[in-house]
């Protein structure tokens, strides 16, 4: 029995060792460091943060990283109050926020925000005007814009959402959002809701789009990460990490890690476009 455990332990050690050797170069920056990094904020960032944290903690168990969501607003507030070391936002900080808390921003990726509808919906193209009409509550049935006879159900994000802010500014041009719109608390919840509701219209970060939802073209622009990267899709935003003042050594290492090629690979795998350093 003991023998078995020992073999198992040895295998584990060996695995860890090979793993750390394989990822050698960028993760080397963490060797010998220890401490805690708490991360909170934008929900779009979570997959990236999680993968990065997984690799770092596997290579160096002395470092503990905790990741919470909550939305961009939470990110600003918690990092501002000093509750976390990194607060993620899916939008640029306002001047008031920077001034109030003394925050420093580190953009690391680009994400597009796209309208999504149920795959069963026949509509394939929308214009910005139509979207404004839909969200203002003026267009209430899909047949008014060439779809089937079905009532439109609106989905929007909560006020703390960076996705909402981008959508609101760049696509709606700060137009009205009807109060009857359903409010969902995250990108994932948006996708779940739209995937289930045949009459739904909502918006998510492009990284979240998969086969369960459909993203119609917008004013002729096809929403995809390539188009967002080359500038032919304009409803985009940057994803930021924010720290209160200059980051500590450990946090700085974490941020730098995401800007290495390995970091870029993680970002790409999560569906975003890495920002070249």
């Amino acid at each position: 029995m003991v023998q078995k455990f020992r073999t198992l332990l040895l295998t584990c050690l060996a695995l860890t060792l090979t793993a750390s050797l394989a990822w050698g170069a960028p993760l080397d920056a963490f060797t010998g460091k220890q401490g805690t990094i708490d991360i909170a904020g934008g929900t779009a960032h979570i997959p990236v943060m999680k993968e990065a944290a997984k690799r770092i903690m596997t290579a160096n168990p002395e470092i503990r990283i905790s990741i919470a969501g909550g939305g961009s607003g939470v990110g600003v507030q918690q990092v501002g109050e000093g509750l976390v070391q990194i607060g993620n936002t899916g939008r640029a900080l306002s001047e008031a926020e920077v001034a109030k808390y003394g925050l420093v921003s580190f953009p690391f990726a680009i994400d597009g925000v796209a309208i999504v509808i149920n795959p069963a919906n026949g509509v394939d193209a929308l214009t910005a005007e139509q979207v404004k009409g839909i969200y203002a509550g003026k267009i209430t049935n899909w047949k008014q814009i060439g779809g089937a006879d079905r009532a439109i159900s609106l989905y929007t994000r909560d006020e703390a959402s960076g996705t909402r802010e981008v959508f609101f500014k760049k696509l709606l041009a700060k137009g009205d959002i009807a109060t009857s719109a359903n409010v969902v608390p995250s990108n994932g919840a948006m996708k779940t809701a739209v995937a289930q509701d045949p009459g739904a219209v909502g918006y998510v970060g492009i990284g979240y789009i998969d086969a369960t939802v459909k993203a119609p073209s917008m004013d002729g622009m096809i929403p995809s990460q390539e188009n967002a990267a080359n500038g032919s899709y304009t409803v985009t935003r940057k994803l930021y990490m924010n720290t209160k003042g200059e980051p500590s050594a450990l946090v700085r290492t974490f941020i730098d890690y995401l800007l290495t090629p390995e970091g870029a690979e993680i970002i790409r795998a999560s569906g975003y476009i890495p920002l070249a350093q």
């Binding site: 596997t58 503990r64 905790s66 919470a68 509750l83 998969d210």
Partner: protein, 282 residues
């Protein structure tokens, strides 16, 4: 209800397995915490259990103590006043309790402990407050439901108030009190709203101490239901609900067994029922 469980089982069983708990990390290494688990729910299980233990540790003493106090020590005025306060506390929604934890934290940060953050201890304190009224009122109820004669018997035998309580009333009411404890533990294990605001996060690994953030099963379920990215994630979500369900039911079963054992130890062993019946008419 059965349909609900059925659907959960159908959708969830597929994902039940080692991978659900430990992802790709070898179980032994994961359990001992040598290798952090990221996509498994093992840290959440440990988180929930430690949260539960800490909460009950904090709540049991004052809860049961206050229940006893109200049942037999308090003056009528205090009884009415404190009883009302407890009823009010019982009605505080869990999200408001979470909000309280949050305000408490902000206050602490601006005064005594500038480095305090959301953590296991804070979450347990708020959860303890949440389940306190359950403990107090079931303890009080169980004691007050005992026949008045039992108080008199104790006194007539020359036992003082505390000894009557300790040796006669408490054991007689143990069953009721235990069901209160169970109810409280159940609420503490399932509550999401409180810990959402006071320390539960999506990923933290095994709980690292009282002042660290932690993962918890109910929060993980809530998180997966809104953040899942693919079918596997969803299936794991279902499986996680099954795990939480199993945990709750295990708690229930354990308490029922304990109740039976207590009864037997206290009341004596019931044997040969037929003869006993004959004795009655002897």
């Amino acid at each position: 209800m059965l349909a609900l469980v059925g659907v959960l089982l159908r959708n969830g069983t597929g994902a039940l397995g080692q991978a659900l708990f430990f992802d790709s990390v070898p179980p032994l290494a994961a359990i001992t915490g040598q290798v952090p688990v990221w996509d498994g729910i093992w840290p959440a299980c440990v988180g929930t259990l430690s949260l539960l233990a800490l909460t009950m540790l904090l709540a049991l003493g004052p809860g049961i103590g206050c229940g006893i106090y109200l049942a037999s020590y308090a003056s009528p005025r205090i009884k009415a006043l404190l009883g009302f306060a407890i009823d009010l506390l019982a009605g505080v929604p869990s999200i408001v309790m979470g909000l309280f934890g949050f305000t408490l934290l902000l206050t602490l940060r601006h005064s005594a402990a500038p480095n305090a953050g959301p953590c296991l201890l804070l979450a347990s304190c708020c959860l303890a407050l949440l389940v306190l009224p359950v403990l107090v009122s079931t303890t009080r109820g169980a004691l007050e439901a005992l026949p008045r004669q039992l108080h008199l018997s104790g006194a007539a035998l020359g036992l003082c108030r505390w000894k009557t309580m300790r040796h006669i009333l408490l054991p007689a009411a143990a069953r009721g009190i235990l069901s209160g404890v169970l109810l409280a533990a159940g609420r503490a294990a399932e509550d999401t709203a409180v810990i959402m605001l006071t320390g539960a996060v999506a990923n933290a690994g095994l709980p690292a101490g009282l002042t660290a953030r932690f993962e918890a099963l109910p929060f993980t379920i809530f998180y997966r239901s809104s953040q899942y990215r693919d079918a596997l994630d969803l299936q794991q979500g279902f499986a996680t609900t099954l795990v939480l369900l199993a945990l709750s039911l295990a708690l229930l079963a354990a308490a029922t067994r304990l109740q039976r054992a207590l009864d037997q130890r206290w009341q004596g062993i019931r044997t040969n029922r037929p003869t006993q019946h004959a004795d009655r008419h002897a």
